[in-house]
């Protein structure tokens, strides 16, 4: 190319500008920009005209208005007199909550099933295989309906309950748990927990450095666990046991309408949350299981053999050789599954769990502010996914094979 350009530098212009790839490229891009601008212009003018005709004022001022609808789960104080903006914020927090809990259970179940898929035990292996093939080939929405309408409708009604250890109670109103009551000084327990984590990290670093320098191992993991659990417990007793438990109160006597769990006593997990979490984590776990299996299988058998030849036992082989290499394969698809789970949590709207889409949908129906609400939804999910992919790029750079 460059040779040709040099040759033709002094020569008369080439046959036709039309055949110059650079000129063509610029032309195509100008056409694209013009087309997109024109499309945008048409959409914007149409939208403005349509909104004027429907008497909908665009803008964000509606967020200040009183919502007038309640919700059965909110992490921050919320009532019918709160604003629309508050309602959407409550929905956002509920989305984060169900996503976080779902991710936790999906990871646990997924890793167990993924490892079970590699088991030499035929029964366990087949069970895990059936789980994966059954669960991932059935639509998530159907699974949510199944858990919500089929399973949680078959459990005891409001006036009865199923109990476990007299602490966990399940009935159609959801799961009831003891509620921790934070007394004065309870914040110190939280601080102790954080300090425990900080010291554990420090100890782990020091232990690794010492082992690299002197070869002497130090039980950093056990020390860390002890610090993280022990320090808060110690603080708890030193502060005079500031955290109490409020047990749910089940009324069995009196008029039939009063029977059942007393309102606002104990912690109540609503059935929508239970069904959604169950469906999301079981569904996503089937994908995570396949990722884990593929990741472990991607570590070649020679690595295990070499580790054994060096005299490492099974535990250290797994911890020091196989898992770090498998994680490099597992983490990127795992993060995208986490993101999928978060996006799939928007199916909550089908069973009226008050998540971002569900709360936003109610606001949309009441105000008709379609563009703003859908804009908020998309902005939230897009930023979650951009944060995730930024994390993934960072992780990939950190974990990429260092080749010499």
């Amino acid at each position: 190319m460059s040779v040709m350009e040099q040759d033709s530098a002094g020569a008369p212009a080439r046959a036709s500008l039309l055949n110059d790839p650079k000129v063509r490229g610029i032309f195509y891009q100008i056409v694209l920009v013009v087309a997109i601008t024109a499309l945008g212009y048409v959409i914007v003018t149409n939208t403005i005209a349509n909104l004027e005709r429907q008497n909908i004022a665009s803008g964000w001022s509606f967020l200040e208005n009183t919502a007038g609808f309640g919700t059965n789960q909110s992490l921050v104080s919320y009532s019918e007199t709160s604003t629309y903006g508050r309602a959407i914020f409550v929905g956002f927090l509920n989305t984060l909550l169900v996503a976080a809990v779902g991710i936790f259970f999906a990871t646990v179940i997924g890793f167990i099933i993924g490892i079970a898929r590699l088991s030499n035990n035929w029964v366990i292996n087949r069970l895990a295989y059936c789980y994966v093939e059954l669960v991932r080939n059935i639509p998530l929405l159907l699974q949510i309906f199944f858990w919500y309408f089929a399973v949680l409708r078959s459990i005891p009604g409001k006036r009865e309950k199923w109990s476990l250890f007299d602490t966990f109670h399940l009935n159609i109103g959801g799961l009831r748990l003891p509620k921790p009551i934070m007394g004065t000084g309870s914040e110190w327990v939280g601080y102790a927990f954080l300090i425990g984590i900080a010291i554990a990290i420090f100890v782990a670093r020091w232990a690794r450095k010492r082992q690299e320098a002197t070869g002497q191992p130090f039980p950093a993991f056990l020390t860390g666990v002890g610090l993280i659990i022990g320090l808060p417990i110690l603080t708890y007793f030193v502060m005079g046991m500031p955290i109490g438990l409020e047990f749910p109160n089940f009324v069995e006597t009196g008029p039939i309408l009063r029977q059942g769990f007393e309102l606002n006593v104990g912690l109540n997990i609503i059935p929508e949350f239970l069904a959604l979490t169950a469906a999301l984590s079981i569904y996503t776990a089937s994908f995570i299981a396949e990722i884990v299996r593929a990741g472990i299988q991607a570590v070649s058998h020679g690595q295990t053999e070499a580790a054994h030849a060096l005299g490492l036992r099974n535990g250290p082989t797994l911890r020091l050789v196989v898992i770090p290499q498998a994680m490099r394969v597992i983490i990127p698809p795992l993060t995208s599954q986490y993101l999928n789970l978060t996006k799939n949590s928007s199916l909550a709207v089908a069973i009226a769990y008050p998540d971002l889409v569900s709360m936003g949908g109610t606001v949309l129906n009441q105000t008709g502010q379609a563009i703003e609400i859908i804009g908020i939804w998309m902005a939230v999910y897009l930023s979650l996914s951009l944060i995730t992919s930024a994390f993934m790029n960072w992780y990939n750079q950190r974990m990429a094979l260092v080749e010499r």
């Binding site: 694209l32 149409n46 005209a49 030499n120 069970l127 089908a350 379609a370 939804w377």
Partner: protein
């Protein structure tokens, strides 16, 4: 030598003993795979218990206690206070609705022809050994959509009614599920290819636009896309122009799956060695002939499993349209629960079981096909 006779030289082979019974056959297999250690035995027992506790009630519900025929809920009501088994009679009664929705019964033959054409064109297309691939693909991707569009919606020239118009509002069941999934995939394929090429383009603006488009649609959940197409799209159109609800959903689904398709195709494009591009350019081919003749045939063949997987995902995701008020298979089943003629304690369970069976059969079949194609296309060295 006195002790010569102490030597014993065996002249014939000792009889070959059969392997110990504990290492061969069923018992050996069980010892090796199920009871090789204490831990393994415990796992086996736990596994069998779990399997039994799941399968036994399912079989009892779906087969043993099931009611196979009847004309209304009386047949399916549990007899002696039990929960009762599956009410297959209800599925039988609603079967036409599940398959065709509320499509007028005298016009159902049109849907049947579409189903038949779909199967008749798809099966040879999916079989690698069947001949006339190109003709088949054109028939399936170009002729079939046009024919089925007129068959399903109707064909009217002025006053001359060849096929009466059937509003999409009465479509439903498997018909809507298949229409959305198949249209979504077929329409998103060209768009996805264009976006994938755009993302790999050297022209900065085209590349940027493609990236923004792809990442935007991949970053938002389908449900917000469906809300957008059903609530926001009408706002974008000039006054008086209205779209059919199904068409709006189709547009949303197509844009959404085009972004996923673009990433699948991009994977295929990246797998083509650079030498192929250079070879094509050395032959003097321009961009589009190079793509059309050299690169895309190879890249698309590579990504067939990926396309099938995208299709499986889309097929499962079509159930979401019930949230914006359309009646796909799951929506139809869900709405059939409200019919008082068939309302029994087991109707809901039966309906969900039926839906799960249908979806599972489709998806599992497709994923097996995808694995089969992956093996077939895998021409490198296997480990």
């Amino acid at each position: 030598m006195a002790n010569t006779d102490l030597f014993h030289i065996r002249t014939e082979e000792a009889p070959r003993l059969p392997a110990p019974i504990s290492t061969t056959g069923v018992i050996g297999w069980m010892r090796q795979n199920l009871f090789s250690s204490v831990g393994n035995t415990v796992l086996t027992v736990i596994g069998i218990l779990i399997a039994y506790s799941l399968i036994e009630p399912l079989i009892k519900f779906a087969l043993i206690d099931a009611v196979w025929s009847g004309s209304n809920r009386e047949a399916c009501l549990p007899q002696d206070g039990g929960h009762g088994g599956a009410c297959w009679a209800y599925v039988e009664a609603f079967f036409p609705q599940f398959i065709y929705g509320r499509y007028p019964s005298e016009e159902i033959w049109r849907v049947n022809i579409v189903y038949f054409l779909f199967a008749a064109l798809l099966v040879p297309l999916a079989m690698p050994s069947a001949p006339f691939k190109k003709l088949n693909a054109i028939l399936f991707l170009v002729v079939f959509p046009i024919v089925s569009y007129y068959l399903l919606t109707g064909l009217v020239f002025g006053d001359w009614v060849i096929l009466p118009i059937v509003e999409t509002a009465v479509w439903g069941g498997l018909l809507v599920t298949l229409v959305i999934a198949v249209t979504g995939i077929v329409a998103s394929l060209p768009l996805g290819i264009a976006l994938a090429l755009g993302r790999r383009s050297k022209m900065p603006i085209i590349k940027l636009v493609s990236i923004i488009f792809i990442e935007f649609w991949r970053g938002v959940p389908l449900i917000t896309v469906l809300f957008m197409s059903s609530v926001m799209l009408p706002l974008f159109l000039p006054e008086g122009v209205t779209f059919d609800k199904l068409l709006r959903v189709l547009i949303g689904v197509t844009l959404f799956s085009a972004a996923y398709m673009a990433e699948v195709v991009r994977g295929g494009l990246q797998a083509i060695p650079k030498g192929q591009y250079e070879g094509a350019m050395a032959l003097g081919l321009r961009f589009w002939p190079m793509m059309y003749l050299i690169i895309l045939p190879q890249a698309l063949k590579l990504v067939i499993p990926g396309i099938v997987n995208t299709f499986i995902g889309l097929f499962k995701d079509t159930t979401l349209v019930l949230i914006v008020g359309m009646y796909d298979l799951l929506g139809m089943i869900q709405s059939s629960f409200t019919d008082p003629t068939w309302s029994t304690p087991s109707t809901g369970h039966t309906g969900y079981l039926f839906a799960a069976l249908v979806f599972w059969t489709f998806c599992f079949g497709m994923s097996r096909y995808s694995i089969f194609m992956e093996r077939k296309l895998h021409t490198g060295h296997k480990r």
